[in-house]
């Protein structure tokens, strides 16, 4: 009996000893394993966010160039008419007497009408508001947000004691159309200056690729994956070049509308509750889309079916 107890005690001691031996493994080998797995921490200032976005742009362009090999990169500014020769002919005929011409004339008049305090829109924008469309939207470092052209127009009004205009259509879009028209042919070169800008860009990118609405569609589903396919009587336009022709005169609207107006309409079509005009999500989406269209020229306002 006594021998049995001693034997059991010995076995238990050996087990405990074995367990303690495992825990006292050489610290140096544990450290070196950690050192292998640890990656050098890159200071945030050293990360080139513009370079990261430029890689995305190249991949995006490459996708559309492969999908539509008969279209040059620069032609994507024309939307669906870059990939559909038949409708392109009809569109070019419409462009000879563009339906947005009156809106440009109205836009000039609104733009040049002074505010109550005597100042005007020209005082708010560099180069007096001419030839600046290609700089929008931009990431404002001071306020840490994306500023679209339409938002800038209303900020100008409010800073001069005027009430903001309604977004989407109407007077504000007429002003935007004049400013776009004055910038025709200039190249989009939007920047991603810092980490916050990159976050806004990624937020817009996430929106673009996220399925939403009862119909469970993302922007990418229609305008990337199945771009060029027919949806009822229309062909789905490629996402590259979407912002260049804004604001757009759509025959379905019978007037000009901003890119934000189009976003809301698209969301309604897929049974997603549209977000507010100039919401952070929509501004970030416009930032993402315009970055993907860097290198293309301003050709707004434009007309579409």
């Amino acid at each position: 009996m006594k021998n049995t107890i001693n034997l059991i005690a010995l076995i238990i001691s050996l087990i405990i000893l074995a367990a303690c031996s495992d825990n006292s493994a050489p610290v140096s080998s544990a450290k070196s394993k950690f050192a292998e797995k640890a990656k050098p921490v890159v200071a945030k200032e050293q990360i080139n966010y513009q370079q990261k976005v430029d890689q995305d742009i190249r991949r995006f362009r490459s996708f559309f160039s492969n999908k539509f090999p008969n279209s040059d990169l620069g032609e994507f500014k024309d939307g669906v008419y870059a990939i559909d020769p038949a409708t392109r002919e009809q569109w070019l005929e419409i462009e000879e007497f563009p339906p947005y011409e009156l809106a440009i004339d109205e836009g000039i008049e609104f733009f040049e009408t002074p505010f109550t305090n005597g100042k005007s829109y020209a005082d708010c924008f560099e180069n007096k508001g001419e030839s600046v469309r290609q700089n929008y939207p931009y990431f404002d470092i001071k306020s840490s947000q994306v500023i679209t052209l339409e938002l800038a127009i209303n900020q100008c009004r409010e800073s001069n004691g005027e009430k903001p205009l309604e977004y989407g259509q109407g007077e504000l879009v007429a002003i935007s159309s004049y400013m776009a028209n004055s910038s025709r042919g200039l190249v989009f070169d939007i920047k991603v200056p810092n980490e916050m800008a990159y976050k806004a860009y990624m937020n817009g990118k996430q929106f673009f690729y996220s399925k939403r609405g009862q119909l469970n569609f993302s922007c990418a589903d229609c305008h990337l994956k199945i771009a060029g396919s027919s949806l009822r009587a229309d062909r789905l336009s490629p996402a590259i070049g979407h912002p260049t022709g804004m604001p757009v005169y759509r025959s379905a609207w019978g007037e000009l509308g901003s890119i934000g107006h189009r976003y809301r309409e698209c969301n309604k079509n897929i049974r997603a509750k549209p977000l507010a005009y100039q919401s952070e999500a929509y501004r970030n989406l416009e930032y993402y889309q315009t970055l993907m269209s860097n290198g293309l020229v301003v050709n707004g306002p434009s007309s579409r079916k």
């Binding site: 996220s210 399925k211 997603a272 509750k273 549209p274």
Partner: protein
């Protein structure tokens, strides 16, 4: 017999109150989930329509319809939240490689 009648009347009154409460509870639940979906930017346009229709049906005394519409609104609102959760994790799968 009178006691039986009074008893049945009481049961009927209590039952009608309980019956009325159900669609309103469902409508309230649908509204709560709809708001959560709206907060994350994934509200469906169909949900608020269903809730409005449920409210109208309840107002008109058509509690069976109100309950049915509210239940559908809850289902759609829950699906929109699931959609948001899925998108948050999987959105990059659609990106061209």
């Amino acid at each position: 017999m009178n006691k039986i009648k009074i008893g049945l009347l009481v049961i009927g009154l209590v039952g009608s109150v309980v019956w009325e409460a159900t669609p309103y509870e469902l409508i309230k639940k649908a509204e709560m989930i709809r708001l959560k979906a709206a907060e994350v930017g994934f509200e469906w346009s169909t949900t608020s329509t269903l809730i409005a229709e449920a409210k109208q049906a309840a107002k008109d005394g058509n509690y069976e319809l109100a309950e049915k519409l509210a239940a559908e609104a809850i289902k759609q609102a829950e699906n929109s939240l699931k959609q948001a959760e899925f998108a948050a994790v999987n959105w990059q799968d659609s990106e061209p490689k």
